[in-house]
Symmetry: C2
Subunit: 410 residues, 2 copies
């Protein structure tokens, strides 16, 4: 599969935008045309999942219906309409000896995606890799294998319709653990592995991989409410950041409140969170604010709840907030709420996270919200790509040097 992908990648690197887009549009049509087959395959997965005792949350992630399937097909069409990053001229410069340098964007090559039970990843990841000119090898979870196979068949139909090699998007047919091991050590055949799934999957990938990994780890995200915060914005952002969706990596996990902020500001925000059904854990000094508050213990400051639970602490201004975030954060997404521009800039510059926001919810940590059209994940690593990764993150560059016979002296 690796060798076939490598050959396909060489073809895709030189494939015009319109051909890649045509393949994705044809795949969307094929997916709509074979909706019955895909939904039947999904029903098989769902039945086996129920038998195997999957949790309701996992079954919901696995489930497809006509609406969700149409959403997946529409996402393929949306990716087809994104600007093609390949060939983009990133930089041009000339040296005194007359050599003209041009840095141009090129595909990464072969991308390996290892994911769990969401069948939509098969389509989303395949589409993003293709549009960025990469071949991909998809290794989906066993829970969703029938659904993934049926969706993959539609993608292959799209590739065929556009005259592209079928190996451009390959699905590991039998999702055993050995396939993951083989992918993680396929140096020279796979250029990058992107794991999408829970902590244990990502940890295994990072531990065993001999191929570079673009991984997402914890999102222990903070919202800091400055003494100069607008109370209405502060309350709306805190509630949205925690509760819009509690299971996403951009959800707030710790709320930091400036010790110099008015007592009512803290009290109202905490009440709003509690009223909305959030469990709130805090330090002894804040307990009198509301009888529903619970005591936090030391682990709370380092916990990604991914649930309607929040820890709240008081800190000494922007510097105190930055110190807390440096000690407990995970370099994912952190926000400040303030009307003081200087405090905001200090926070934006000083917090070492992939995404740092001023007066906006941490739940904007998402490639779509960034305007990338889609995302293949959010990188918490520091190399290559940081934050939401979409088409650009699936490319690299090369340098073209145009001369007139120059040789290097000395």
């Amino acid at each position: 599969m690796g060798r076939a992908a490598r050959e396909a990648a060489a073809i895709l690197a030189a494939t015009p935008t319109e051909t890649k887009a045509a393949a994705l549009r044809a795949a969307a049509s094929a997916m709509r045309a074979s909706a019955d087959t895909i939904l039947a395959a999904n029903a098989t997965d769902m039945a086996r999942g129920a038998e195997n005792g999957l949790s309701p949350a996992m079954l919901d992630r696995l489930k497809l219906d006509a609406g969700r399937l149409d959403g997946i097909a529409s996402a393929l069409e949306a990716v087809a309409g994104l600007p093609d990053p390949v060939g983009e001229s990133l930089k041009n410069w000339t040296q005194p000896n007359g050599l003209r340098f041009e840095r141009v964007r090129v595909p990464l090559g072969v991308v390996g995606i290892i994911y769990e039970s969401r069948p939509n990843v098969t389509a989303d990841a395949g589409a993003l890799c293709l549009m960025a000119g990469n071949a991909c090898i998809l290794r989906g979870g066993s829970e969703a294998i029938e659904s993934s196979r049926a969706i993959h068949a539609a993608l292959v139909e799209g590739l065929r319709a556009a005259g592209l090699p079928e190996a451009a998007i390959q699905l590991v047919p039998t999702p055993d653990r050995a396939a993951v091991g083989a992918m993680l050590t396929a140096s020279g055949l796979i250029d990058i592995i992107i794991p999408r799934g829970g902590k244990s999957l990502v940890a295994r990938v990072q531990d065993e991989a001999r191929v570079p990994v673009l991984a997402h780890l914890d999102g222990i995200n903070h919202v800091y409410i400055d003494k100069a915060a607008d109370p209405a914005k502060a309350q709306a952002i805190a509630v949205n950041a925690k509760l819009r969706r509690t299971g996403v990596c951009g959800a707030m996990e710790t709320l930091l409140i400036d010790r110099a902020a008015p007592e009512t500001l803290a009290k109202d925000i905490v009440a709003a969170l509690l009223d909305a059904g959030c469990e709130v854990r805090t330090t002894p000094d804040l307990l009198p604010l509301d009888p529903r508050l619970l005591m936090a213990d030391t682990e709370d400051w380092d916990t990604e709840y991914l649930d309607a639970i929040l820890s709240v602490a008081r800190v000494d201004g922007v510097e105190g907030a930055m110190a807390h975030i440096a000690a407990h954060g995970s370099h994912h997404t952190d926000a400040i709420v303030t009307e003081d521009e200087a405090a905001a800039e200090r926070f934006l510059r000083g917090v070492d996270s992939a995404i740092v926001l001023h007066n906006a919810s941490t739940q904007f940590a998402d490639g779509g919200e960034f305007g990338f059209g889609a995302e293949i994940g959010i990188s918490t690593g520091r190399l290559h790509a940081r934050g939401p990764v979409a088409l650009e993150g699936l490319t690299t560059y090369k340098t073209l040097v145009r001369g007139s016979g120059q040789v290097r002296p000395g």
Copy 2:
């Protein structure tokens, strides 16, 4: 050391350009002031090296004299004059909901450099890391340890003079293999490892590292002489690409000649290379060109000689050259010589190498020649940085998002 580096990195990330530059200038002065001490330390290394039977080439790499030391000090001053990449605004955009996005360059964090016997790497790598706002941990080879310690002392003097933490540039005091192992697995403390040295070092690092690696592998570089090549340019470029320095990674290792090129073109180039003292190995069809030619065997096409040896093959035009390079190249640096612009563009776009040149010598594969002011290595990987790596390659980015109270719907 990792923890101290992490703390220093947090300070360096917010250090103004002028302070970093002042530290490097002070280090250059300290190096010049302590030239006697450094040269004495180097003499100790040289004596031990001779005793231990180091090759003349290795002893030459190890050797310092007044001129070389002054060159190292001048390089520190040159890095101090480079534009600071940190804080550079890379991209700005606004979303329909009013959120304003800004991607800014920030330091990578803590860089680990593992190198062999060249004592100048201690100064060069330390300077580049510092200027890009990174702390670094240097693990130099045991052959050069006295020289490296003496140079490192001057760097620390510079840091002190500028009021920067001494842990900004740390040298592993005892270069045992265990230190390498510890660095390679220091996830969370070291953000990137850059090995500088021979194949066995790089292979060990890539095999054992749990930290991302920016590595340089083989440079099996090609020059393709097209039928439309200017004969004088072709000859000058071929001789320079192979022989200017045979031991550098940008040296040509295989010459490809268009089957449709005039016989005299091939004959003259081969004669020029032979006349200049190069051993030339080729295929049976080319042997009649010159009695000094030797037969190549199949391994020659995949060999990085790093010596005055060259393999020469005939290929069918640009497409044939690209096929040969795809089969045998190492994605490092390849060149075409032609006056046919269309052929040149086809080659520039189609060859999947970090550096692709038209009418220029492959020996320009160098950060200094690219105008980067210096280089910490040439990356043959596809992620993060490709080709010569200097200050920019030692940074990453974060995204600042400025809002006015936006929360995410849905």
